[in-house]
Every structure is written in C-alpha cells, then in structure tokens.
C-alpha cells in the first residue's frame, strides 16, 4: 500500500512525533497470561420485541402472542422464533437470558443505562460505556487502533468514554464497507512529520497556558488519528480482502458486513466491537407494523449473527470471543391497534454466545404474557457484571472520576453475576 510505504519511509513514529509527551502516562496494565478475551455486541437500536424473537408465548391470547411460531433448536426443549432458523442450529453455544428486568423505558436513558451500568442523571458524571472500560482494561497501550469500535449508523446513545477520556473513545465507523476515510496524508511523509511536530509544539504551549481538558482531549485524538494512519492493522477495515463467498455468508447488508468487520477487528486485536442495527422507521422501534418489520430484521440478524458465530467457531476464536445480542429494552405484550408494540423494560431478553460460557441454556423465565419476570430476574448491573466476568474484567475495581471520587466499574452493591453461565 502506498500510504503505508510512505509512513515507513518517513520513519514517522510516535516516539518522535508524540504530541502529548507531557501528558501523565498511564502505566500499561499488566496483561494476563492467557489470550485476552474479546467482545462483540450486536446492538439492536430501538428495542427488539422479546415476544417475537427469543421469548415466544404461543399459548398467550392472540392480542399478545402475535404472528410468529416457535421452532425447535439444536438444544432439546429450547424454542425460539421461526425467523432465526440458522441461529437455532447454533444454540448449543448460546444462552438466552429471559429475565432481563430494567428501569428505563426511554431510548436514550435505557441505552445509557445498559451501556454504562449507571442511570443518566442530568448534570451528573459522564460514565464510560462498557466498551471504553474494556478498552482500558483489555486494550494494550502500544496497540495502534482504538480498542473500542462502534460500527453502523445510530444514535449511539451511551457509547462514550465519559470520564475515562479521549483515549478510550470509540472509533465510529458509519458504513462498514467504507471503513475509515482520510487515512492518507495529503502531503509527503517528510512534510507531514514536520508539520505534525510543529502542531505538537502549538498544542503543548496552548495547554501550558490554558490547561483545558478539551485541549487535552483534542491532542489525544490527533495522536490516536496519526497512530491509526501508521498502523498496519488498518487492513482489517478492507472488507474487499475477504473472499466473496464469505461476504455473502454474512449477508450483503450493512449489519451483515458490520458483523464481518467486527470479526476482522477482533482478529487483529481490537478487544471490544459494537455493531449497530435497526435505526429509523424500519428499525426495531416497532410502534407500528411490528410483525413485518421484526420478520425482516430477524432475517438480517439470523444471517449476520449466525455467520459470525460459525466463523468464530471455525477459526477457533469462539471460546475467547463473547457475542452479545441485545437492545435497550423489550416490547409490550399488548399489540396496539397499529399492529405495533410499545416499550417494555420490566421483562425482556438478551442472548450471550461463546466467550467460554456454558451454552445451550435458557436462564430466567417470564409470565404467560412475557410481561413480568417470574424467575431469575437480571438487573442491569447483574448483566454487566456477568459480561465483565466472562471477559476477565474485575468489575469490583474502581476508577477515579475527575473530581477524585472512586467509581466502581460496575456498581456492585447488589450484584449477582449469572453463575449458571460459569458452571
């Protein structure tokens, strides 16, 4: 690649061109012996209907049960929606959590809560997303890509580094087939290095005088951008390097190709990737036309998610890669006059796959209308603590907020990680 040759020839290295040598350097966290785990979250923006995906109620009355039929899976006794036929054959790797029980039924507030483990209090602390925590806990300092990537369009509510700072901010990739734009400098290597060094001088002197956190964040972002320009690993963004047949298996949708990009990023060492789907009028926020929309979206998910799980399995990566299927809440049992379902947070479902968990099980149970949880309720903190435990993150550890107060990774006062997964 021309660009990389240019970088190599230039000898442009961060050591020489580092902008923020003045920043306090965080000691790199000592890595564990075993290969670190990774996580791919498939985020269903808008809140998918649990009744029409992973918690069907065929015996409920017609205004509740809806149009879809359950089908058998590779695990005897477990049934899911008929619109996940391919994933049904992979269920031995996955666990369905049917007892999600959360508080927020507003998209933004719920997305924030599920991403960060904390409720969004106006004017309160900006809490980091789990991906940013993973970036801090699992990311390697010398790794030239951001350790948290968010693929696909969306409001991306709650997917911010908050007080962990610009270093752990996710890299947003709006369109997976397009990757990252503007990776090549518009001048030759020598000039780029020269002007970048000058920029470093300007940054240092501005910060010295004004000490603004925004300036620090700007400098860090510039540095991360230049590290990315230099990185060999950016090849991972080039989906065209995959065989056509592989790309077909994931589905030629934004979500399918996003799943493929997620696999490629995990393979080069990005520890946490989120793939978004479902924004907008055809998305998961099915206040009207729930059934045709959920059917179409399920088909995309079945293709992309199943291809991802198969691919990870075939490459021997499934045991160290946790795949999470989730949205911000479920949907109401009662079907509305417009054939839709409204928001529902008191009972809903998520799915965990791989990552070394004990698969092939359903955890938790809802009532006959999937309206309330009757067995093994899972709170937001239970859920996040469980993911942390799977990933090998000590969720009882605290980070310091900017005003110096310790903030637990997961607020663990009332936490019960889901032990059934670790048996």
């Amino acid at each position: 690649m021309q660009r990389r040759d240019f970088m190599k020839a230039s000898g442009l290295s961060l050591g020489a061109a580092s902008l923020s040598g003045w920043l306090p350097t965080l000691a790199a966290r000592a890595g564990g012996g075993a290969r670190r785990k990774s996580c791919i979250v498939l985020w269903m923006t808008g809140g998918p209907s649990h009744l029409d995906t992973f918690d069907l109620k065929p015996d409920a009355r017609v205004e509740v049960r809806g149009e879809f039929r359950p089908i058998a899976t590779s695990v005897p006794g477990i049934q899911i929606s008929e619109h996940f036929p391919r994933f049904a054959r992979l269920l031995q790797h996955g666990a369905i959590l049917r007892g999600m029980c959360t508080q927020e039924a507003d998209h933004q507030l719920a997305s924030y809560h599920l991403h960060t483990g904390y409720q969004n209090r106006a004017g309160g602390l900006a809490f980091p997303a789990l991906g940013s925590i993973a970036s801090q806990e699992l990311g390697r300092r010398e790794f030239p890509l951001p350790s948290y990537a968010v693929i696909g369009p969306g409001p991306h509510d709650g997917t911010r580094a908050g007080f962990l700072g610009a270093r752990h901010q996710p890299l947003f990739i709006q369109e997976p087939t397009r990757g990252v734009d503007n990776l090549a400098a518009s001048v030759d290597a020598q000039r780029f290095q020269r002007q970048f060094q000058l920029l470093g001088e300007l940054e240092r002197s501005f910060y010295r005088a004004y000490q603004a956190p925004a300036s620090q964040a700007h400098t860090t972002t510039l540095e991360s951008a230049v590290r990315l320009m230099q990185a060999r690993e950016v090849q991972a963004f080039e989906l065209a390097r995959e065989p056509g047949a592989t790309r077909d298996r994931y589905g030629r949708t934004s979500f399918g190709q996003g799943c493929l990009l997620a696999r490629r990023l995990i393979e080069v060492g990005v520890p946490f990737v989120e793939v978004n789907m479902g924004l907008g009028n055809d998305g998961w926020d099915t206040h009207v036309n729930n059934f045709p929309r959920t059917r179409a979206l399920s088909a995309q998910v079945d293709t992309g998610m199943s291809a991802l799980v198969e691919d990870l399995r075939d490459r021997g990566l499934l045991d160290q890669t946790l795949v999470v299927w989730m949205g911000e809440f479920g949907r109401s049992p009662q079907i509305t006059t417009g054939g839709g379902r409204n928001h529902h947070a008191r009972a809903w479902s998520t799915v965990l796959i791989g990552g070394g968990i004990r698969g092939g099980q359903v955890i938790g149970r809802t009532d006959q209308n999937a309206a309330t949880v009757t067995e093994r309720p899972i709170s937001v903190v239970d859920f996040l603590a469980t993911i942390c435990r799977i990933l090998g993150i000590d969720y009882t550890r605290s980070n310091l907020s900017p005003d110096g107060r310790p903030v637990r990774i997961v607020d663990n006062r009332n936490v019960t990680p889901i032990r059934e997964l670790f048996a």
Partner: protein
C-alpha cells in the same frame, strides 16, 4: 428525542410538585421592578459573581486581552472568527469603549441572527436529521425571527404556527419527516426548550425530580392534541388544527384536560385553539418558567455553563449556582420586553464575560463560579464557517474529493455529536481529526498557491509573514516565543518558504486553539 418515543403510561410514576412555582421566586407579580439598562445589568452581574467568589475565597482571572476577547465575542455572537481586516481594525483601535462598540456592532449585524438560528435549530430539531425533511425552512424562519422579534413574540409565533411549510417555516417545529411529532415528543421538546424543564423523566420511576406528577405531564401534552397534518401531502407539509375532542391523547387513549404546567386547568371553549392558549400562558410576564429558562440558556451559551446546569433541567433538586442573580436577570429580561440583544449586550459587557480563560493557581479547579471563562468547543457550524474565513474556501468538495451539494450541511452532519451536549466537552473522534488533517477539503494540494495569494505575498519579511499567518487563522498576533519558534521553522534546510507557510497554516488549523473558543 432521538426517535419515536411513545411513553407507556404505566411507567409514568415520577412525580412533580407545584413547588417550582413557589421556588421560581422573584418578586410577586405586580411588584414594580426597576428597569436597568444593559450597562447597569452588566455591573449587577459582576457584583453577584464577585460577591460569591469572595465568600469562597477564589481569585478571579484577570481581564482577557483584546485578542482573546475579540475572537470569543465573534464566535459567541456571530458564530465565526473575524476576518483579518476585522481583527486588525479592532486590535489597532485605541478607543476606550472599543469593546462595547464591537458588541453593539456584532449585535447589529444579520450574522447574529444567523448564528442564533443555527443554535436554535439544533435545540428544536435534535440530531435526527434523517427523519426530518426540509429543515432549512425552520432555519430561515428563525433567522428572520431573531432579526426582527423579541423572544416572547418569536416563541408565540412558533408555538401557534399553522400553514404549509414553504410559507411558514415555523411549522417545521411540529414535523418529523412528513409526519407530525407525537404529542409526547412535542411535550418533551417544548418543555425542555422554552420552559427549561425536562419531563421525559416521568417515564422512569426513580428520577430525583420528585416533584412532577403524571397529571402535569399529560395536562401539558393535552395542549398539543389539535395539531394535524393536512392530507394529501403534496410538496410541502401543511399543519392545521382539528376541533376534535382536544382532550384525547392518542398514545395513551386517556382523556385529560389541558392544564398549564404547575398551574390551572384550562376550561377550553369549543373550537378554541389550545396551542394559542398555551402560547399566551408561556409568554406572559407571570409565567414562572419562560423568561427564567431563556436567561439561563443565554448565560449557558456565553459562559459554557448555565446558572442552572444543565440549562434545560431546572428543578428543585438542581438549584442555581447564583439564585439571586438568576432572578435579577429574569426580572430585567422581562422588564426590558424580552429583548434578546439587551440580554446579550449586558452579558458581554460584564467583566465576568471579559475575563481570560487562563486559570490562576487558585482558580484552576473552579468550573462553576465563573472565576475565569470556561473554554468551549466550536460547534460544527462555527468550525465550518471559521475554516471558510481562515482559508477563503467554501470547501465544496467532500472528503472523497467529489463535489457536494451543500458542503456546510454535509460537514456539520459529520461533526455533529450527540444531541445538546455540554458546550465545554470535546466530542470529536478520530474520523473528524483525520478529516481535518488529511481531506484537503479546506487546505488542498494547491495550498501553497493559496497561501501566497491570500495570506503572505511574495517578498514578505519572515516576521511579517508569521504575523499574517497568525492573524489570519487565530485572529491574534503571535507571542515572542511563537515568533521565535516559527522563525526557526523557516530555517529548515531544503524546504521552500511557500511550502513552510502552508505547513504552518495546516498546524494552526488543526490546533486546539483553532478548535476551541477560549
């Protein structure tokens, strides 16, 4: 709201009290308030701020120098950096009242209205552009409004708008794509933007705003039940009103009387416009929310932080940092006929606004009491417009090199963060940094020619050249240290002077200083 947000009624358990009325304070209605002019109000601001700093024993940063003030006041009022000529004219002026004159000049220009139209467009039309159509109609309407109307008139006209979108851009406020906003979306947006109250909290059951009741929410929502879209939709959507039973709320199917927030039930006559009744109530002098909300928002706009923060979350549990000042500003805003320029003038003329953002040892930790100016991040619109002024190019080629239709809208869209974020927090990421550094949208391959033609003519002495580059991009002269640094930069072997100029412009454009309003 990001997208369709229909409240499930059974989640509405958060409760609200009539307390905000009592808490809103101020003199009881009818009491005479002595009207102050902008200069007197500026002094009042300083008195309140300084009194508190004294109590807390926090030193205040000194007055900003002219250049810092110049760039700040341009960005805050016009949303763009000054041109070289504008910068020179101000920096060379020795008139003792040059700051006050500049403030008046800026407020007198149509750019003021354009900037505030941009800002309010973003408040009223949150980042769901993909679901909205023809938002320019609203921007143009707002621009005209800020140019010609007082705040009460502007809001009254917005709230009561009817007609086709092409003839009355204000109806855009009620639209989402070709559809109307839901009643709950209208309720959330209106209360947040114009009353400074967040009501979406009533969807959760443990929000600390323990005071609002479900009935307050639906009472306010009932005012929006007459909004109707005329069918069929041709080129432009038309908003009209129905006279169906106004109390019926489509989302919940509940019947509810329209009730003013924290106030009385409206006994609506048949055929009465509920929106007009609401608008009348909102903009009346007695309304405890309206003026206070705007004063706080304006303060937040200029200082990077509201007296109540966040600016749209005013309730008992979130008290103002300077309650007496907030009440005084509110009363004066009303007494001066909801004149926005009056408010801007008073704020900008205060010493508090004119302080440097450089911290002292004793106030570096203060970000609440206004002992120094807080540093704000340029909005995408400010950044684009300032790039155009600095480089003289509209940048009508996109990141991929292809010409684009509306370069500003495309740029703004790709730099837009989440919703209404804190103006002091930096939300840009790697893609935006890469775009500014590498896209060549503003500083393309012919940058040397551009620098020669527009900034540094051939034969300019190096010291002169440095000054011209700084004035052009950062609207100030370089310090002695900076001159020294750049003169050294010119001394690099094997580089052409014009190339080095272009590199300096690149570095200045990508610097923190350019991206921030300090």
């Amino acid at each position: 709201m990001k997208f369709c947000n229909v409240a499930s009624v059974w989640f509405l358990t958060c409760v609200l009290a009539d307390a905000p009325l009592a808490r809103a304070g101020g003199p009881p209605s009818g009491a005479k308030v002595q009207r102050l002019d902008a200069v007197a109000l500026a002094r009042l601001i300083d008195d309140h701020i300084e009194k508190r700093l004294k109590v807390e024993q926090i030193p205040r940063s000194p007055r900003a120098d002219d250049a810092e003030f110049l760039r700040r006041v341009y960005l805050d009022i016009h949303g763009v950096i000054p041109t070289v000529d504008q910068a020179r004219a101000f920096l060379e002026s020795t008139a003792p009242d040059r700051r006050a004159r500049l403030i008046d000049e800026l407020l007198g220009s149509p750019r003021y209205a354009a900037h505030f139209a941009d800002l309010w467009h973003n408040h009223l039309y949150p980042a769901t552009a993909n679901q909205r159509i023809k938002p320019e109609a609203l921007v143009r309407w707002l621009e005209h409004g800020f140019q010609t109307k007082t705040w009460d008139r502007l809001v009254h006209d917005l709230m009561t708008a009817t007609g086709p979108q092409d003839q009355n851009g204000a109806v855009t406020y009620m639209l989402k794509g070709r559809f109307t906003l839901s009643v709950t979306e209208m309720t959330d947006l209106t209360s947040r933007c114009f009353l400074g109250v967040r009501l979406n909290c009533v969807q959760c059951h443990d929000h600390p705003c323990a005071s609002w009741k479900q009935s307050d929410y639906w009472g306010l929502a009932a005012f929006f039940t007459q909004i109707q879209r005329l069918k069929p939709v041709v080129a432009f959507t038309t908003i009209t009103e129905t006279n169906v039973d106004p109390r019926k709320l489509p989302e919940s199917g509940k019947l509810r009387e329209p009730r003013f927030l924290g106030g009385e039930v409206l006994k609506a006559a048949p055929g009465q416009s509920l929106r007009k009744a609401l608008a009348d109530w909102m903009v009346s002098r007695e309304n405890p929310f309206f003026a206070r909300a705007m004063v706080n928002r304006m303060w937040g706009h200029f200082f990077g932080r509201g007296l109540v923060h966040p600016v749209d979350d005013m309730h008992d549990g979130n008290p103002p940092s300077h309650p007496e000042l907030l009440e005084a500003l509110t009363e004066q805003f009303k007494a001066n006929g909801f004149d926005l320029k009056y408010l801007c003038r008073a704020i900008c003329q205060s010493e508090t606004y004119q302080r440097t953002s450089k911290p002292l040892a004793g106030n570096a930790k203060d970000d609440k009491l206004f002992s120094r100016m807080l540093i704000k991040v340029l909005t995408p619109e400010q950044l684009f417009d300032s790039l155009v002024v600095a480089t003289g190019q509209a940048g009508n080629r996109g990141p991929s090199g292809k010409p684009i239709n509306n370069p500003r809208a495309e740029f703004v869209n790709s730099f837009r963060g989440e919703g209404d974020s804190d103006p002091t927090s930096y939300n840009r990421g790697i893609p935006q940094a890469l775009r500014l550094m590498n896209s060549g949208q503003f500083l393309g391959p012919r940058s040397e020619a551009f620098v020669t033609k527009q900034i540094v003519p051939p034969g300019t002495a190096p010291e002169q050249a440095v000054e011209r580059l700084y004035l052009r991009v950062l609207s100030r002269r370089p310090s002695a240290d900076e001159s020294k640094l750049l003169l050294k930069y010119f001394a690099q072997p094997g580089a052409e002077r014009q190339q080095l100029y272009a590199e300096i412009v690149w570095a200045l454009l990508n610097s923190s200083e350019f991206s921030l309003n300090h």
